[in-house]
Point group: C2
Chain length 190, copies 2
């Protein structure tokens, strides 16, 4: 079990989330992991490489989830399944999502962030082409963005709630919010 590399990854993930990427120095990461700054640069070739390692698993998972959108998303079963997957994704990777949401625009030149941006843009375009009214588009944006924001900021602002209850209530509210969206027969038309 290689602990040091993974320790550094987790420490960096936490600090990048809490303090921001550019505000986090390699020196601080080294101190939190109780190694020298040189050791950090032994395990990761650069600070950007550390960011890459920290968020890549989350981006990989997001890419998997987006493939669920292929096919008949607009049956109620598929819609609920997607929402459940997305909520679980947010719950598991909320620190990585936090980094992307809060600092993504300023980290556009980092490959993995750029990849995540493309995925999110695909998601936005899918909903854009699948809906007919501005209200429907807004329902999607508020549902997904609101859920992401809520989970990301719950550490600093929210009131502690058991994960199971959070997931159930979130699924309920989002399903209800998206219920009025018109069911297009064939959303896959360019």
């Amino acid at each position: 079990m290689q602990t040091t590399t993974e320790d550094l990854r987790l420490v960096a993930l936490a600090e990048f989330t809490a303090a921001g990427y550019s505000a986090t120095s390699l020196q601080r990461i080294a101190e939190l992991a109780d190694v020298s700054k040189s050791s950090v640069l032994y395990h990761f070739s650069s600070k950007e490489d550390l960011l890459q390692a920290a968020v890549t698993p989350a981006v990989d998972r997001l890419a998997e989830i987006l493939e669920l959108l292929a096919g008949d998303f607009f049956t109620p079963e598929r819609r609920t399944a997607f929402l459940a997957e997305f909520i679980d994704f947010l719950l598991i990777y909320r620190r990585e999502v936090n980094i992307f949401i809060n600092q993504g625009p300023s980290l556009f030149d980092v490959p993995v962030i750029e990849r995540a941006t493309i995925l999110v843009r695909q998601l936005a375009e899918f909903f854009h082409s699948s809906t007919s009214t501005l209200e429907d588009r807004m329902r999607f944006a508020i549902a997904l963005g609101g859920a992401a924001y809520m989970l990301c900021s719950q550490d600093s602002l929210g009131f502690p709630t058991p994960v199971d209850e959070t997931r159930a209530a979130l699924l309920s509210v989002l399903t209800e919010l998206l219920a009025p969206v018109a069911t297009l027969p064939s959303p896959v038309q360019e």
Copy 2:
């Protein structure tokens, strides 16, 4: 008309929003405003002072809006009025809100950010004490957080839409989302 000070404020606001506070150097602000770095520090005593000046108007406005919550928020008229005020606030000050949302936790030691954090916490506590179920609380969080996220990220992700349409659709969706929230007779009890 003192243009330089206000120019610097606007340039700093835009850069702090786009690239992040700690990733924005005084040198860059100076170049964008076409003055020297020393001039920046003549008009603003420090980088933190510049951040302070950039976001203070938005925080002042937020404090005003929160006073609307005193009294009978849960009549439909008051609720709609609050939502309209809040949406307009987001539309006008979305760059400042972006800074607070995205970088607030890492800027907790800046007085004006701390003040904004207290205001947002007041808002959260009001909704927390005014609602009886987790679902209702989540409706508020998703509504306000989702709206804020949508407007903040529309520059980088969204599809351009006229402001009037955005406001109308947003008000419609949020009103609908909050409709199921139980109307408590007296939410002002500690």
